[in-house]
């Protein structure tokens, strides 16, 4: 057993013949934030999906919250919160109904639904179908879903994209640095991203191009990834 939140050694994943991730090796301690940079198609989303247990790793030794993927995936499931570009909410159901559904799946008390709805400031529109909410509200509902079961590890795919500053401020204590959670965050914004994280990972063509504590690198190194 290890008390690291993430421990990857030589992680690889293919789509058919095309490698999406190759030889990714890194460690992340509990409570720390890993911020992942890289151009589109560099493998950021694939990395998050592998860590969430939605994609099987094809190579390497992958431990998430101490559970070795994919064989022990069931041990990590339910302890990971995932926020992707898709909200993973049913459009015809209201935020409350969606959250109740997930609360039942995760075995979370129903009161917690009201709690997180309050936290993301969505109480007023909680009974409208997701399809009728604005993009920012949908993202807030998705955050509520991701933190509903109080996950030990949060995986966030560009969480603040498309959000106005007010909404971003609401979400900051829930999924931001001040939440104190262990996080993996993808970002396209070098300055903002570095301010968010403890460790920076740069991916390029599925390979690790940069891996260092944020204190040791500056924005220029990150911008080079996109060149």
């Amino acid at each position: 057993m290890t008390d690291l939140a993430l421990e990857l050694r030589g992680l690889g994943r293919r789509y058919g013949e095309r490698p999406a991730l190759q030889d990714v090796t890194l460690k992340l301690e509990h409570g720390a934030t890993l911020v992942v940079f890289g151009p589109n198609g560099a493998g950021k989303t694939t990395l998050l999906r592998v860590l969430a247990g939605l994609l099987r790793p094809h190579a390497g030794d992958v431990r998430v919250l101490g559970a070795r993927l994919p064989d022990e995936g069931w041990r990590a499931r339910g302890r990971v919160g995932l926020l992707t570009h898709e909200p993973l909410l049913y459009r015809e159901l209201s935020a409350r109904e969606n959250l109740r559904f997930h609360a039942r799946l995760h075995g979370v008390a129903p009161q917690r639904v009201d709690e997180v709805l309050e936290a993301v400031a969505l109480r007023v529109r909680a009974d409208d179908p997701i399809a009728e909410l604005s993009r920012g509200m949908v993202q807030r509902a998705a955050v509520a879903r991701a933190i509903l079961h109080d996950p030990a590890l949060l995986l966030l795919d560009e969480p603040l994209a498309n959000l106005d500053p007010a909404a971003a401020a609401v979400l900051e204590p829930l999924i931001g640095r001040s939440s104190g959670r262990t996080r993996v965050v993808t970002s396209h914004d070098p300055a903002g991203g570095l301010a968010e994280g403890d460790v920076a990972l740069g991916l390029r063509g599925g390979r690790v191009a940069l891996l260092a504590p944020v204190a040791e690198i500056d924005e220029r190194r990150v911008r080079e990834l996109y060149a």
Partner: protein, 241 residues
Amino acid sequence: MTYGKGLRPLAALTALTLTAAFALVFFFAPLDADQGFVQKIFYVHVPIGIVALVGFMAGGVFAIQHLRTRDPRHDLRSYVAIHIAIVLALGTLVTGSIWAKASWGSWWVWQEPMLVSFLIVFLLYACYTPLRFSIEDRERQARYASVFAIVAGAFVPLNFAAVRMAEAYIHPRTFATTGGGLPGDMLITFLVALAGVGLLFVTLWKYEMASKNATFKLRALRRALAGDELAPARRSAAPTL
């Protein structure tokens, strides 16, 4: 894995057995009292039918192994077995239809449960390739194809039982078509023919496996030489290793 090994003697044995079977069919097996010469199509129709069914079942067994081990070679084995079996099943339908025309005067008889069952099984397995072709991700394609092969493999005996019951219910069967009721000379001829078709199946299967493996090795070598420059494989229903 070298599927080419022993292919030559196997092919020779197959040719020999099939020649012997034909010789027996034409010169040894007695003429059927009722149906005359045309009954001899039985020695083609029934063996390829049986071997086709065994091929479908083998495809299902390989598919189970594929899902258990995630080894793509099992998927390839299943794919090749099912493909050859589909061709044999088509042959069974054609020869069955000819036989029906000759002995009952109609190209298709719904009263013959074996033939009807074969048609249904053939229609089901005809979906195998379209299903594979419509899934782009290779790993998912292999997994879904295996799920299909297992479901279809279990379907085959159930289907035969149900269709047979339906016909037996309406038209009590008066004679048995297969093995049991055959006189000795016919039985020997039939068994040799069955062995010949069985060997043919194994030979074709090994040949196709050897050919596919050679293709993959070639592609792997090209990829090693060309690196990422190599154009990605075209979309296809065939498995890759």
